[in-house]
């Protein structure tokens, strides 16, 4: 009897206290179509950092779309209606995914390449520039989706270095970066191929950028959303500090760009943009200058949004991409050469 009382007491104690913090929490949100619509549009309104730059009037958009939702609206229709909001942002960082574990599920994101010709052909690159059969001096860092880094000199001119980072979504150690720049040190110019690099870790991109200057460079500022109001922003002014390395690369550099130069690659580009010896060759970049926040709506749909944007030292908004210094279009019919690399070589000779 004594132990029974204790057990009952403990259970009561647990029952009372286990729900205490919940009394201090906000109630769980509803998951019906209108509630999810309101949740998403509120997130966009409060967190998205570039409504003005993207010329999106979220209140008008919400008013126009909300009326399309009623009790008969299917999940697919709701997703498509929310997708209208996502698409209006024209932003590769902003997406909506029904179920991340289901590759056949619904998803909405911005197609960076739509309306642009291909910027790179892997076969042309391998068969004429970096494949082992044509270039025995090429070195690689294995890992990632194939290679983390490819570097060496080009068979067309052994005094010109070549570096390709296919993605920033990898880990490259400080020692490996040193090794790359040590190997490239004696070249007279560098082709830095950034095509296909849609981003990853901006800190890694910044670390590479720091090898291309011997003095601090003012880059501009990243404007973050810091509160729900339309004017709740704060600017972080960025000055690139040079790497503390003896192998910094201060000679002319041609950075090859295409539409997939996005996100952390844009971080690299704005970091080195003020350096006069660095030029861009190829296509307009994809942009994606902002930092990303992500989460789940109440019904489990995944969202991501740009919650900052970068405005460079020239006052340019970078999110829609920038034109290269030297525009060059790849001719896919001529498989003997990559016009973008060839133009870069000419510029460096």
């Amino acid at each position: 009897m004594k132990y029974l009382k204790i057990k009952i007491g403990l259970l009561l104690f647990l029952a009372v206290f286990s729900s205490c913090e919940k009394a201090l929490m906000e109630p769980n949100p509803k998951t019906d179509a209108l509630a999810v619509f309101d949740e998403y549009t509120t997130l966009v309104q409060e967190k998205y950092a570039m409504l003005e730059f993207k010329n999106v009037n979220i209140n008008t958009l919400r008013s126009n779309l909300r009326g399309k939702i009623n009790n008969a609206t299917t999940q697919k229709e709701v997703f498509e209606i929310l997708g209208e909001v996502t698409k209006s942002l024209r932003d590769g960082h902003s997406s909506l995914i029904e179920d991340q574990n289901n590759p056949n599920g619904m998803s909405i994101s911005f197609d960076l390449e739509e309306g642009y010709p291909a910027g790179i052909d892997a076969a042309i690159l391998v068969n004429n520039y970096i494949g082992n059969t044509v270039n025995s001096e090429i070195k690689t860092l294995a890992g990632g989706q194939g290679f983390r880094a490819v570097w060496g000199t080009l068979p067309q001119d052994r005094k010109i270095g070549y570096l390709w980072i296919p993605s920033w979504n990898v880990e490259i150690s400080d020692d490996e970066i040193e090794r790359i720049f040590l190997d490239l040190k004696d070249t007279k110019g560098l082709v830095f191929d950034m095509r296909t690099n849609t981003g990853g870790d901006p800190a890694l991109a910044t670390k590479f950028a720091s090898y291309f200057t011997d003095k601090p460079i003012y880059n501009g500022f990243e404007r973050f959303k810091t509160g729900p109001g339309p004017n709740d922003f704060s600017d972080s002014h960025i000055t690139l500090q040079p790497a503390g390395s003896a192998n910094k690369y201060l000679k002319p550099v041609m950075v090859l760009t295409d539409r997939n130069v996005y996100s952390a690659s844009t971080t690299f580009l704005y970091s080195v943009d003020p350096v006069e010896s660095i030029k861009t060759v190829g296509q307009r970049t994809g942009g994606g200058s902002g930092s990303i926040a992500d989460g789940y709506l109440a019904n489990g749909w995944y969202w991501s949004l740009s919650t900052s944007e970068f405005i460079d030292a020239q006052g340019r908004h970078l999110d829609d991409g920038v034109e290269p210094d030297i525009p060059v279009v790849l001719n896919l019919e001529d498989t003997t050469k990559d016009e973008v690399i060839e133009r870069a070589i000419v510029e460096l000779q």
């Binding site: 913090e21 929490m25 574990n101 910044t206 670390k207 989460g295």
Partner: protein, 257 residues
């Protein structure tokens, strides 16, 4: 007279014996936990889930005071209340406490959470996958003994801490508001970058902890603890979490003299 003297002496010695009693114990705790979480900055959806608790500690008690140190860890897996996504929660904590005896069964003093690392990992998210609150808290503490029960109450007075995520990005709110964000600044991501710590007091930063322990035998006791924390580094967007644990304590050694 001699008889009276002997009686008084007997009671005095007994009283001294009673109050001079010293107990020291080194213990291990093991049990289960239940945690819940809500960060209104990103969603009103609550996360709840179960897990395990482990602890080690040393406790010394004499006629004047209780003092002790405690190292504990709680790991839970929480599930969202309205969808299937989960989050893993880790909460290691190092504590020290000193409570002075006010009455025979009442102690008042302070507890210092030397290090309280509350970390979460949201499955499937990118930049917002990692969330943590790292810091230290000073608590006003009370312990009340009743028969074989020991009741504890802590009220968080002041916390020195850093929350990893701001209103709209995975960096501390003060980093963003102060314009300190920079990818070359490693400290932004470090949970131990004191530059970005904030000092917060009640009631803005509310923390309370309760406990109840029942002594089953000299070696074994069973205890329940509850920790509630609510704070807002972004006004009107609070973070609230609670952790409950039910554990068995085994005294590896317990000496009374």
């Amino acid at each position: 007279m001699k008889k009276t003297y002997l009686i008084v002496l007997f009671f005095a010695v007994s009283l001294v014996q009673l109050y001079a009693q010293k107990t020291s114990s080194f213990y291990v705790d093991i049990g289960g936990g239940f945690s819940s979480f809500q960060d209104v900055k990103y969603s009103n959806v609550k996360y709840n889930g179960f897990g395990g608790v482990f602890g080690l500690g040393y406790l010394k008690e004499n006629e004047k005071a209780i003092w002790g140190v405690n190292l504990q860890g709680i790991v839970t897996t929480e599930k969202a209340a309205t969808h299937d996504n989960t989050v893993s929660t880790y909460n290691p904590m190092l504590q020290a406490k000193y409570l002075h005896r006010i009455r025979e069964n009442l102690f008042i003093g302070a507890t210092w959470d030397v290090l309280d690392l509350y970390a979460k990992n949201f499955d499937g998210l990118g930049n917002n996958s990692a969330y943590n609150v790292t810091g230290s808290t000073l608590w006003a503490s009370a312990i009340y003994d009743y028969k074989k029960f020991r009741f504890g109450l802590d009220l968080g007075l002041v916390s020195y801490f850093k929350e990893s995520t701001g209103f709209a990005f995975s960096a501390s709110q003060n980093v963003l508001e102060n314009g300190d964000f920079d990818y070359q600044n490693d400290k932004i991501d470090s949970p131990f970058a004191f530059k970005y710590y904030e000092l917060r007091t009640i009631p803005k930063h509310f923390q309370v902890r309760t406990s109840i322990r029942y002594q089953l035998s000299n070696r074994f006791s069973v205890g329940y603890k509850w920790h509630l924390r609510k704070f807002s580094e972004v006004k009107k967007y609070p973070v609230t979490y609670g952790i409950h644990s039910l554990s068995i304590r085994y005294n590896i050694f317990k000496r009374t003299k």
